[in-house]
């Protein structure tokens, strides 16, 4: 027995068709619900113009909403707006007069006639709340929706009803429609993040839960929640037996050949200790067959290239040759899922194998939902590893000198496959840099604590192991055998 597949009308909205597993049920009724200003009209128009590009015809009927002139003025700023499709393929008409003079029956008659007259394959009814308010009872309104549903199916016209949430828990129209999309906002402190939920989607599975979106010049851009979008990896994972160079000879020796390929490595340490410099060495090992990506939050591309040059790493030539790409995320109010999608797209586009994420704090600051962090990074890093990506990220610790070498955030065990700590240590009244490997997946390593220096045009140079000293990672060295007496005191 073969199951019937419901034909879909794609939205053309980035991210939404993935969430809906292909689009909206063709010939069905779909509610787009949300408070004023969340982008319902923009979304409906975006769907309409995409449908017209595919050869469809759209009838956009307004009840009590903004005037057509005002709507078209606003749409004129959107890149999806194509004025030459107006009239022939997309028509805006008002149904409010019919509703006012003849009630819901007059409106349904107008819709029925004009769907046929315009040969519409998509109908948008903007301002459903006006129809709801004009109904004498819930039953009358339910009948209206039922009639509309019958007409939509009969005319093979996919219908979108735009409405504000009226606070009722289960409005009667919800029981009959084929889909419900809710658009809303989440506020945390002074930040507001827009999000979309699929409440109902007949005929196929969908990505449940909250998905953030932004309204841009291209309309709505939706970012499917990473944990749902990639809960199954897009590539089958495999064993990666090789090791890859960090670009720092002495560190490779400590790692007994380098970092295990396709793993996640954290470089933790205080500000200015050399985390990004180490990352630059790592990315400097990129090759045409092993392209690199720097996904950074703090240093702009020109500054990063300058830093690389001072370390003796010719990143500029690598960027010019396309071997390395630098994607800088301006600081500000980033969206966690948007960042992850941008990273994954950049990896996909160039088949990237080495990524420097500088630094992890940029992702953490973007998150409005700290409880998601653990699963978010687990899914994201699994996807990266399945694509054969070796990720090296930097993470700043708070204290310049201090006793703690723990990860500054908890619940991100997926991010600590390999962990390298960089520290300052006070020794002979001088601040020295030291490096220690704390963890390396499935491999032995040199557990010694070594001093390193950053030399002009040569970069990081790992030196000999500290001898005769202890408590180095605490920040203040002490002579061995003299646990209470500090060096130099």
């Amino acid at each position: 027995m073969t199951l019937n597949r419901i034909e879909r009308v794609p939205s053309g909205v980035q991210g939404l068709d993935a969430i809906l597993h292909g689009g909206f049920a063709r010939g069905g009724i779909h509610i787009l619900q949300g408070t004023p200003g969340v982008g319902k009209t923009t979304l409906a128009n975006q769907i309409s113009y995409h449908h017209a590009v595919g050869g469809g015809r759209v009838l956009y009927v307004t009840l009590l909403s903004e005037t057509h002139a005002r709507m078209l003025l606003n749409l004129g700023t959107m890149s999806f707006f194509e004025p030459d499709r107006l009239f022939n393929q997309i028509s805006y008409i008002s149904g409010f007069g019919a509703l006012q003079s003849e009630g819901l029956q007059g409106l349904i008659t107008l819709l029925r006639r004009d769907i046929v007259a315009h040969q519409a394959t998509v109908l948008v009814l903007d301002g459903l709340v006006a129809a709801q308010d004009s109904a004498a009872s819930d039953t009358e309104f339910k009948t209206f929706i039922q009639e509309l549903q019958t007409q939509s199916a009969l005319q093979d016209c996919t219908t979108f009803l735009l409405t504000t949430a009226k606070g009722r828990r289960v409005p009667p129209e919800y029981t009959m429609v084929d889909g419900i999309l809710e658009l809303g906002e989440t506020q945390r402190g002074s930040r507001i993040e827009r999000a979309l939920w699929v409440r109902k989607h007949r005929g196929s599975d969908f990505m449940p839960g909250r998905h953030t979106y932004r309204i841009t010049d291209a309309g709505l851009v939706i970012y499917p929640r990473i944990e749902v979008a990639y809960h199954e990896m897009t590539h089958a994972d495999q064993a990666w037996p090789d090791k890859i160079s960090t670009g720092v000879e002495g560190l490779d020796a400590m790692l007994l050949g380098g970092l295990p390929e396709a793993t996640i490595t954290g470089i933790v340490g205080p500000s200015g200790v050399g985390k990004t410099s180490l990352g630059v060495h790592f990315i400097g090992q990129s090759r045409p067959t092993e392209p690199g990506l720097i996904f950074g939050f703090y240093e702009t591309p020109p500054r990063l290239l300058q830093k690389a040059a001072s370390l003796g790493v010719d990143l500029k030539s690598a960027v010019d040759a396309g071997t390395v790409e630098v994607l800088w995320q301006p600081c500000g109010e980033n969206v966690q899922d948007a960042l992850a999608h941008r990273l994954l797209r950049a990896v996909e586009r160039r088949h990237v194998r080495r990524v420097l994420l500088d630094g992890l704090g940029g992702f953490l600051e973007a998150s409005l939902e700290p409880e998601r962090i653990g699963r978010f990074f687990a899914v994201l890093t699994n996807e990266l590893k399945a694509r054969g990506v070796s990720l090296l990220y930097t993470m700043e610790t708070r204290d310049i000198f201090g006793s703690s070498v723990e990860m500054p955030v908890t619940g991100i065990s997926s991010l600590v496959e390999n962990l390298i700590a960089l520290r300052y240590v006070e020794h002979d009244s001088r601040a020295r840099r030291l490096l220690a490997i704390l963890k390396l997946r499935d491999s032995g390593f040199d557990p010694g604590i070594r001093q390193f220096v950053i030399q002009d045009r040569r970069g990081i140079v790992v030196q000999d192991e500290f001898t005769g000293l202890q408590r180095l990672l605490s920040g203040s060295a002490e002579r061995s055998g003299s646990p209470t007496a500090r060096e130099g005191t």
């Binding site: 005037t67 078209l72 107006l86 009239f87 028509s91 008002s94 006639r113 007259a117």
Partner: protein
């Protein structure tokens, strides 16, 4: 008194325009689509000028214009297009080269174009056949 027929499907816009035109001394009749407007034009007195929206339910502006052109009496009535269509090429195609007022408009602009069209029609009226002939 000059009779203006406003053909507009957005009731709030139609009502606002009606009030403003009445304040300016015109007599105003409202129709919410082309079909209703043709019915109004079949009544007496005949409108002196028509302000016509393009995208409307039941019968669109261009469809109504086509009907008017087939009737020599109606064809003689000056028509001004009121439209939010942003492209000149689309307007030229559907508006038949008639004067256009872009939405959103001001009443000052509407009155200026209306008076200009009424003056032009008075100076060189379109030849309508004598209905008694």
């Amino acid at each position: 008194m000059t009779l203006v027929l406003v053909v507009e499907d957005e009731p709030l816009i139609a009502m606002a325009l009606e009030a403003a035109l009445q304040d300016a001394g015109f007599v105003v009749s409202i129709a919410s689509n082309g079909k209703q407007a043709l019915a109004r034009l079949a009544e007496q007195p005949l409108a002196d000028i028509v302000l016509l929206d393009m995208m409307m339910p039941v019968m669109s502006g261009p469809a109504m214009l086509e009907m008017m052109r087939e009737d020599p009496v109606l064809n003689a009535i000056p028509v001004i297009i009121l439209s939010s269509l942003p492209l000149e090429s689309t307007l030229a195609r559907v508006g038949g080269g008639l004067p256009v007022i872009r939405k959103p408009y001001t009443i000052k602009e509407v009155l200026r174009v209306m008076r200009s069209e009424l003056d032009r029609a008075a100076r060189s009226p379109k030849q309508a056949p004598d209905p008694s002939a």
